[in-house]
């Protein structure tokens, strides 16, 4: 919203030496954010009225003249090419330093003294386009001719009434303050901030007429809370006076005619929209406020056909709609040049209804924007008074031809809030003197009665219930005008009691640390959304997924039930640039099962499960071994007791069932690892092997331990023997290791260090080489006994696994 400083000055005394930017800052700090300040005068610095007193030909250019231009005591030599110049012309003289547009195009540039074809020129007589003056001053090939009446030396900004400063207000910062949607409301704030006087609005009372029997019927009491109307006759439609046009133009509103301009002026003064109908278009002088019957169509002022619905509130006459209530007038009842009688409407509508209609039609007019904030119904009356006063002022011949009708469905109820000064002190954190508290409240039009430490505060009606209703609202009013900068900061005193330990956060940090710094994985974060295709590509059912009601794209239609969907997406994306990659994600996944969070304290409904999953993908030569190692390292470092189990019937849907392992913790299946099934990969257009692991993070958390205890260092040396054997493929290392280990209690560890597999070993055979570490904690081992065990192992391996010793 744009606010004009000159307009504000109509209502409030602003300290004379106060710069506009300081006023804006004060408003920002106490009331609303002023986003931008536009100073019209700055644009016209060094541009003044000058009169040509002499013209001679330029010695060196046929189209140019050399003029002497007078601005009072000063005279300037100006080279000019304007075709329309004459001695005595009063024009727009730009002096060095002025901002002008060359030939009326591009950005402003700073004018400087120059020589034109050898003749000195100390400024420039401007065409309208060169300084952005209204089109009516534009002369083809010529300069502006201001006519004889203007005073030489006067600044152009003044001549055109362009000496205003415009404040741009962030509309979002006043959504709760319907009283600030007009100049008068802001003037009231300024008066409170600077402790100056707020002027009263002038209201004239006109005699009501009798010749028109104006009737108003409200059929929809819920959506029309108050409606005032009056018929006005002997109206002559013409242009508004300059002062009114200038105010409107300053805040970006195009002047139309006196009646429309009055309507807009009152809206911008009070925040209360009003509307004028041509009386001849209102059948039977009857106005009915009701909702549309259904899918009717209606043409609004902007000549666009609008589709109505059952919720659309309409202003109708006896036969037909004449306006979209609170949003926009209708083409069929518009005030035109030949209009002689009008009916003025000032009303209050249900903000929710207006907001819904404006949103549905995407028609956010100035009126709708104000109505949807919820206006004080009392404003209707003030608005009507101001309309009548301005009509009287601008159209003295006009008169009221009907009674002023007022249908008011709302009873004003006084809002009184008790404010204890002690409470105020506790909420603000410092003591504000009672005198100052009362001054602030009264300057904001609150009524205060003092009852020994308790103030009884009556809220003015224009501060709506949504805005001021509870004592905390008063705390804000007082503190913001007192000045937040004047409140000394105080750190709160708190109990030393340690806060609850959040194991989940701590473990999360450790998990990420291990995966990144030990495993060398990259952390990714993906969208929580997936597409229908992604679900089907994994062979899963759509109905097992939560679906969004509104979505921006088909890629984001469902909530992810696992991290794998988007991780596979990451793989195919990154394969364009990288041959290998290792990624993981820790994030929430969603399914239909009931979760841990309740819908509300009163309902028994639980929101769906949305627990965290930890998953990763690996692309390299041997992804199975890589993911297995990653999972083992992670679980070992976090002291989780786990088992990796072969179960070819259960591959978690996505893994190749010959290359997958179940991750078992405490008898529970909490995840999988392995290589992704080739069919799934090809559906995702991935042509390399992909290792994958997935862990139910919440279950896993329960098993993270911190039980590590020191073990005494061995006092006696151990011994290590190496063994290299050839076995058939189908002999699993885990079985072999188990067999070796079980041979003797002296075996501390069996450590595989080489797996070797070529055809010369024989068909379907491989070589395994491993260290066997022997140790006895109580004595030095003897070579003989260890050798004996070794021989025993060899025998067992030959017998059980058909091993050949190399």
């Amino acid at each position: 919203m744009q606010i004009s400083l000159n307009w504000l000055k109509q209502y409030v005394d602003i300290p004379k030496d106060l710069e506009p930017k300081d006023l804006a800052l004060k408003l920002t700090m106490a009331t609303v954010e002023i986003e931008n300040i536009i100073d019209q005068r700055e644009r016209f610095n060094n541009i003044i009225v000058g009169e040509i007193i002499d013209i001679v030909d330029h010695p060196d250019a046929t189209k140019l003249k050399v003029c002497r231009v007078k601005t009072g005591k000063e005279e300037y030599q100006i080279v000019c090419g304007g075709a329309n110049i004459y001695q005595g012309l009063k024009g727009v003289l730009a002096l060095p330093g002025a901002q002008v547009k060359w030939h009326g195009q591009g950005e402003y540039v700073k004018l400087e003294k120059t020589k034109i074809r050898g003749i000195e020129s100390n400024g420039m007589l401007c065409a309208a386009e060169e300084v952005d003056l209204p089109e009516i001053y534009s002369v083809n090939g010529g300069v502006v001719d201001l006519g004889a009446k203007v005073k030489i030396g006067q600044s152009i900004a003044e001549v055109f009434g362009l000496d205003d400063v415009i404040f741009e207000i962030d509309n979002k910062s006043i959504t709760h303050r319907s009283d600030l949607w007009g100049h008068y409301g802001l003037a009231r704030e300024i008066a409170a901030i600077f402790d100056t006087k707020l002027g009263q609005l002038k209201t004239d009372i006109l005699k009501e007429g009798k010749e028109v029997d104006l009737k108003v019927e409200i059929e929809d009491n819920e959506n029309c809370l108050r409606y005032m109307a009056v018929a006005i006759g002997n109206v002559k439609i013409e242009a508004s006076p300059d002062w009114l046009q200038n105010f409107l133009k300053a805040v970006g509103i195009r002047p139309i005619n006196n009646i429309v301009d009055i309507s807009n002026f009152v809206m911008l003064e009070l925040g209360q929209p009003t509307h004028a109908f041509d009386r001849k278009d209102i059948t039977d002088d009857t106005i009915i406020i009701k909702r549309a019957k259904g899918k009717e169509k209606y043409r609004t002022l902007d000549n666009i056909e609008r589709e109505l619905d059952l919720n659309t509130l309409l202003i109708c006459d006896k036969k037909r709609p004449v306006a979209l209530a609170g949003v926009m007038g209708g083409l069929n009842s518009e005030v035109e040049e030949k209009t002689e009688e009008i009916i003025f409407e000032v009303a209050n509508f249900n903000p929710v209804n207006i907001r819904k209609t404006a949103t549905r039609l995407d028609l956010r007019t100035d009126a709708a924007t104000r109505f949807e904030k919820g206006l004080d119904p009392g404003l209707v009356e003030i608005g009507m008074k101001r309309v009548i006063t301005l009509i009287h002022e601008l159209l003295p011949q006009a008169r009221l031809t009907s009674k002023v009708i007022d249908i008011n469905n709302l009873k004003a109820e006084a809002r009184v809030i008790e404010l204890s000064l002690d409470f105020l002190k506790r909420r603000v954190g410092i003591e504000i003197p009672k005198k100052e508290v009362i001054r602030i409240l009264e300057s904001l039009s609150f009524k205060v009665s003092d009852k020994k430490g308790e103030l009884s505060v009556t809220v003015p009606d224009f501060r709506t219930k949504k805005d001021i209703f509870i004592v905390e609202d008063l705390v804000e009013e007082i503190a913001r005008i007192y000045g937040y900068d004047n409140i000394e900061q105080v750190m709160p005193y708190i109990s030393m009691e340690p806060q609850e330990y959040n194991q989940e956060r701590e473990i999360e940090r450790q998990v990420k640390n291990i995966l990144v710094n030990v495993g060398g994985l990259n952390e990714v974060l993906n969208y929580s959304f997936i597409s229908e295709k992604q679900i089907l590509n994994l062979g899963l059912e759509l109905e097992n997924h939560l679906e969004l009601k509104n979505t921006l794209s088909q890629d984001q239609k469902y909530l992810r039930s696992s991290l794998i969907f988007n991780l596979l997406h990451n793989v195919s994306d990154n394969l364009r640039f990288f041959k290998e990659c290792k990624l993981f994600e820790l994030g929430r996944v969603f399914n239909l099962k009931a979760g841990e969070y309740s819908f509300s304290p009163k309902s028994k409904e639980l929101l769906s499960s949305q627990s965290k999953e930890l998953a990763g993908v690996v692309i390299n030569d041997n992804p199975f071994i890589e993911v297995k190692g990653l999972v083992e390292t992670l679980l070992n470092l976090l002291e989780v007791k786990y088992e990796l189990r072969i179960n070819k019937n259960n591959s978690g849907h996505v893994l190749d069932n010959t290359k997958c392992l179940e991750i078992i913790i405490g008898d529970n299946l909490i995840g999988y690892l392995g290589e992704v099934d080739k069919k799934i990969l090809s559906k995702n257009e991935i042509k390399v092997k992909v290792g994958y692991f997935q862990i139910n993070y919440k279950e896993f958390l329960k098993h993270v331990a911190d039980n590590l205890k020191y073990e005494p260092l061995p006092k006696y040396p151990g011994m290590t023997y190496d063994l290299s054997i050839i076995v058939p493929f189908k002999v699993n290392w885990a079985d072999l290791e188990q067999e070796v280990r079980s041979t003797s209690k002296l075996i501390q560890q069996v450590e595989l260090f080489d797996v070797y597999q070529v055809s010369k070993l024989g068909p379907n055979k491989r070589s395994l080489a491993f260290h066997i570490h022997f140790l006895d904690k109580k004595r030095t081992l003897e070579t003989k006994e260890v050798e004996k065990i070794r021989e025993e192992i060899v025998k067992k391996l030959i017998k059980k696994f058909k091993a050949e010793i190399r």
Binding site: E35, T175, T359, E472, L525, F529, L546, L548, K549, L559
Partner: protein, 339 residues
């Protein structure tokens, strides 16, 4: 046998002591340790020894061998310093060191961790909550009834066939859940993922992260809020920036504030980033609205508190000067490898 080895060792060491040139050293090395050298000859004899003697003699022989080898090495080193060893064994110190390949944390994780640590130092709990949320906790409990215009400004994702289910539009959904669970006094922050139903571009995303904070105790005041917010910002931005608090409107606080910091790009002089105002809007905050306290079961006459919301995603973008928000969820390693 042991005696023979001992003698060999003594002879060898004596001879080595006299060596002055590398050629001579090489000759002696071959003499003792070569394939047909003295020691090798002796070792061959070990095979013929009785089984129980073998280990002992074998062990001693190994010791002799390593001692001789060490002596040779020492002499080589000494000779080297005289004889231009540099040329032959030149070591290029400028070769790159061994590469250790660590992975990378997501930038959001990095910034979130920093923030969490700041709050932990100030005694706040770090809690998480549901991303799939109910209208009640996301709106109603926060004093945003169904007809409130604020619901329009937060374009919300709703779920199909699940009445009142939505994706949270802010981490403020945690406020009432946390009060219900922990009561008062309370100090907690809630980092997390939020969602808005809006078209994406370089500065808008459907998915972004916030960090909400909440403190409740007896007589928490505006003066407290200002003090905590200012020291918080000092920690977050890691310098003593100028900040200001001005009125701001949010339905779940009363009074509400916008906290601005002096623009870091132009140091408050005014530039395009701060729209020439010299200030950048950083953090909305305020005293918790009594309706919110009541929704959590607390008496607003006894308790008061403050809440604030930090745009985590925005902080990440500010910190690393990331100009396109969409990169954060792109999974693009060319981006992620930079952190």
């Amino acid at each position: 046998m042991l005696d023979e080895l001992k003698k060999l060792k003594e002879d060898a060491l004596n001879e080595f002591k006299k060596v002055k040139e590398s050629e001579e050293l090489q000759r002696l090395e071959t003499k003792y340790l070569g394939r047909k050298g003295e020691l090798t000859k002796l070792l061959k004899k070990v095979r013929d020894l009785a089984l129980e003697e073998k280990p002992r003699v074998g062990k001693f022989a190994n010791e002799v061998k390593s001692e001789i080898a060490k002596t040779i090495n020492d002499i080589k080193y000494e000779l080297g310093s005289h004889e231009g060893r540099h040329e032959a064994e030149y070591f290029d110190l400028t070769l790159p060191g061994k590469k250790y390949k660590a992975g990378h944390f997501h930038p959001l994780t990095l910034v979130q961790k920093q923030l969490e640590e700041i709050f932990e130092r100030m005694g706040f709990m770090v809690l998480e909550g549901p991303e799939l949320e109910s209208e009640y906790y996301n709106f109603e409990a926060l004093n945003i009834p169904e007809t409130h215009p604020a619901r329009d400004t937060m374009d919300t994702y709703y779920l199909k066939n699940k009445k009142g289910w939505l994706l949270r539009t802010h981490t403020s959904n945690q406020q009432v859940r946390t009060i219900e669970k922990y009561g008062a006094p309370l100090r907690a922050v809630f980092p997390g993922r939020c969602f808005r139903y809006e078209a994406t571009d370089a500065s808008h995303e459907t998915t972004f992260n916030q960090l909400e904070g909440l403190m409740i105790d007896k007589d928490i005041s505006i003066a407290n809020l200002i003090a905590v917010m200012k020291s918080l910002l000092r920690e977050v931005l890691n310098k003593d920036v100028k900040v200001r608090m001005r009125p701001g409107y949010f339905p779940f606080v009363e009074p509400g504030f916008e906290l601005d910091d002096s623009c870091l790009i132009c140091s408050g002089k005014g530039c395009s980033v701060c729209k020439k105002s010299g200030w950048v809007e950083l953090l909305p905050c305020g005293l918790v609205h009594p309706n919110v306290l009541r929704a959590g079961g607390l008496d607003p006459k006894v308790y008061s508190g403050f809440a604030f919301g930090l745009g985590l995603t925005r902080l990440v973008m500010m910190k690393y000067e990331i100009d396109d928000i969409r990169l954060l969820l792109s999974g693009d390693l060319r981006f992620l490898n930079q952190f």
